[in-house]
């Protein structure tokens, strides 16, 4: 669980959609930070064992925070949240995609 630090206000906040649910973000926030602040900790399931993963390094190195933005696989920690953007979980191979 994450919260805004003491004295920090949510000025200029906007919303985007994650799996169809509205998520609030403040200007400059990454998609990963906004999701964590909204208590979303599970971002994806691994292709190897379908185990749950979430952000780990927050600096673009570990690739554990991958999400879909407009159908593209992106690092949520390296992607700035934008008003009205549509974010979804990456489809799970073997479940969502027939191989």
């Amino acid at each position: 669980m994450f919260k805004l630090m003491e004295g920090e206000d949510a000025q200029g906040s906007f919303t985007f959609l994650f799996e169809g649910q509205p998520i609030s973000a403040t200007p400059g926030m990454s998609v990963a930070a906004a999701l964590l602040a909204a208590d979303v900790s599970i971002f994806r399931q691994t292709p190897v064992s379908q185990s749950a993963r979430g952000p780990f390094c927050m600096m673009g190195a570990c690739y554990d925070c991958l999400v879909y933005v407009d159908g593209m696989n992106v690092q949520a920690c390296m992607t700035k949240a934008r008003d009205g953007m549509k974010v979804t979980r990456v489809p799970v191979i073997n479940e969502d995609i027939e191989t």
Partner: protein, 466 residues
């Protein structure tokens, strides 16, 4: 080829910004490439957009980055933000992508200032959502103003105390510090204490941080072993042994840290010479005093050349830039040496504390020699036991290990398992780390799309000789 520059600097942290500014000052054309949207690196991340609340929490050392970023803005340096460098050629040609389009530029000299990543901390359960690095938690404070409400900090090193104190100030004190360094480590470190006293300001700051954490009533456990992170899908508990007792703490965030190690993806990809440091338990590229690497076109500045911290990085950046502008003939060698002398002296004073810190906060056995069932390659979910089995089947090095079981072949390209695989194989095969070696790194250094590749300008046909 779109652009040519005298100097290209990769990475806009303290080393990269200082290098770019110094080279600009000596009349070189400079291009500074950085993956983030604004300058500062991870240490001064987002410093130019900090809010009063964040500034209060992050403290005066963080704010020091503001001046550096301002100087960069007022300089002649071409600063390209949000770019991912994915190929560095031996001749100084660099390919990078921005918003799905790729570009190639060329530098007469390239200064690599890509910094460090946090040392991998393979522990049982460290892949569960809710487990992240201490640095990641700090990035969330700097870039988003958010803090974990129910966290335990696990590991060792100065950053552990800094972030714990920052969480206290931010109104979200951690539930505990689970520290892995032992009394023996501290005793062993005391022989480095006299030289370290040159860095007394840093030592005093460390003691202040520890005092603030104690004042806030945050419990500290030291010499912790058998650390495990639990939870069905996400983290809900951390267990460990300390002082001969078993402990269990309910948490939603497990923040991990065991110091930082040089990010060697770029330096490895160019085939530069590297060496293993027993003192810092990691590889670093071989450089001379001026940051000159084994290839005349490349210098390395900052933590990417060996861990020294932000102040050392800024000084190294200046020194590397002097070397670079000298290499391309902007200043004579004698001037380079005269200008570098006082900076070299200052840097060696700043480095005085390092042997003490390295000895006092070493990575513990749990991390250097993970239990068989612990995942070490997060991407391909390869365990430490898998690597040991590969060794027993005759696997001698990390590159062979890839064909045995895919460690290092996921999207992070071995950034988080590389060092651990080398360490396990060195131990199992009784070879030195240098002999075992590291993953061979190739372009693209980060996954890119075919669209990005295709967007590169097609090179012109070579002119036929008449």
């Amino acid at each position: 080829m779109n652009d040519q520059f005298d100097i290209i600097v990769i990475g806009a942290g303290p080393a990269g910004i200082s290098a770019a500014l110094e080279a600009d000052h000596h009349g070189a054309s400079v291009c500074l490439l950085d993956e983030q949207a604004s300058a500062g690196g991870q240490i001064y991340r987002n410093v130019s957009q900090s809010t009063p609340a964040r500034t209060k929490v992050l403290g005066s050392d963080y704010l020091k980055g503001e001046q550096l970023v301002r100087d960069l803005r007022n300089s002649g340096v071409v600063h390209r933000t949000g770019v991912t460098v994915w190929k560095v050629g031996q001749d100084g040609t660099i390919a990078y992508s921005k918003e799905e389009f790729a570009t190639q530029i060329k530098g007469r000299h390239v200064i690599i200032a890509n910094g460090a990543t946090e040392r991998s901390t393979p522990l049982p359960g460290w892949t569960k959502p809710g487990a992240m690095t201490v640095g990641a938690a700090q990035i969330l404070m700097k870039s988003a103003g958010i803090v974990p409400t129910n966290a335990v900090l696990i590991g060792s090193g100065p950053l552990l105390y800094l972030v714990a104190q920052q969480l206290v100030t931010a109104g979200a004190p951690p539930k505990a510090l689970v520290e892995t360094q032992t009394k023996t480590d501290l005793l062993r470190a005391t022989r480095h204490l006299v030289p370290a006293l040159k860095g007394w300001k840093q030592l005093a700051k460390g003691l202040q941080l520890i005092a603030a954490i104690r004042m806030a009533g945050v419990p500290r456990f030291t010499g912790a072993t058998n650390i495990a992170i639990h939870g069905d899908e996400k983290v809900d508990r951390v267990s460990f042994e300390a002082n001969g007792k078993n402990h269990s703490i309910q948490v939603t965030s497990a923040l991990l840290h065991q110091g930082v190690v040089p990010n060697t993806q770029i330096t490895r990809s160019i085939g530069l010479k590297h060496i293993y440091s027993g003192q810092q338990h990691c590889f670093h590229p071989v450089t001379d005093l001026f940051g000159q690497s084994s290839n005349i076109v490349f210098s390395i500045a900052g933590d990417g050349a060996g861990i020294g911290g932000a102040k050392v990085a800024a000084l190294s950046g200046k020194i590397s830039a002097l070397n670079a502008v000298c290499q391309i003939g902007k200043i004579p060698k004698s001037k380079c040496e005269t200008l570098a002398a006082p900076i070299l002296k200052k840097r060696s004073a700043e480095l005085a504390i390092r042997p003490f810190l390295d000895a006092a906060y070493p990575p513990p056995a749990d991390v250097l020699r993970p239990a068989d069932e612990t995942i070490i390659c997060r991407c391909e979910e390869v365990t430490a036991g898998n690597i040991r089995r590969f060794a027993s089947l005759g696997c001698k090095g990390p590159n062979q290990a890839k064909s045995f079981g895919r460690p290092g072949m996921g999207p992070c390209q071995g950034r988080y398992c590389g060092l651990t695989v080398t360490q396990i194989l060195a131990q199992e095969t009784k070879q030195s780390h240098d002999v075992v070696g590291a993953y061979r790194i190739r372009a693209p250094l980060k996954p890119i799309t075919l669209k990005e590749l295709a967007s590169l300008e097609t090179p012109k046909e070579p002119e036929t000789v008449k």
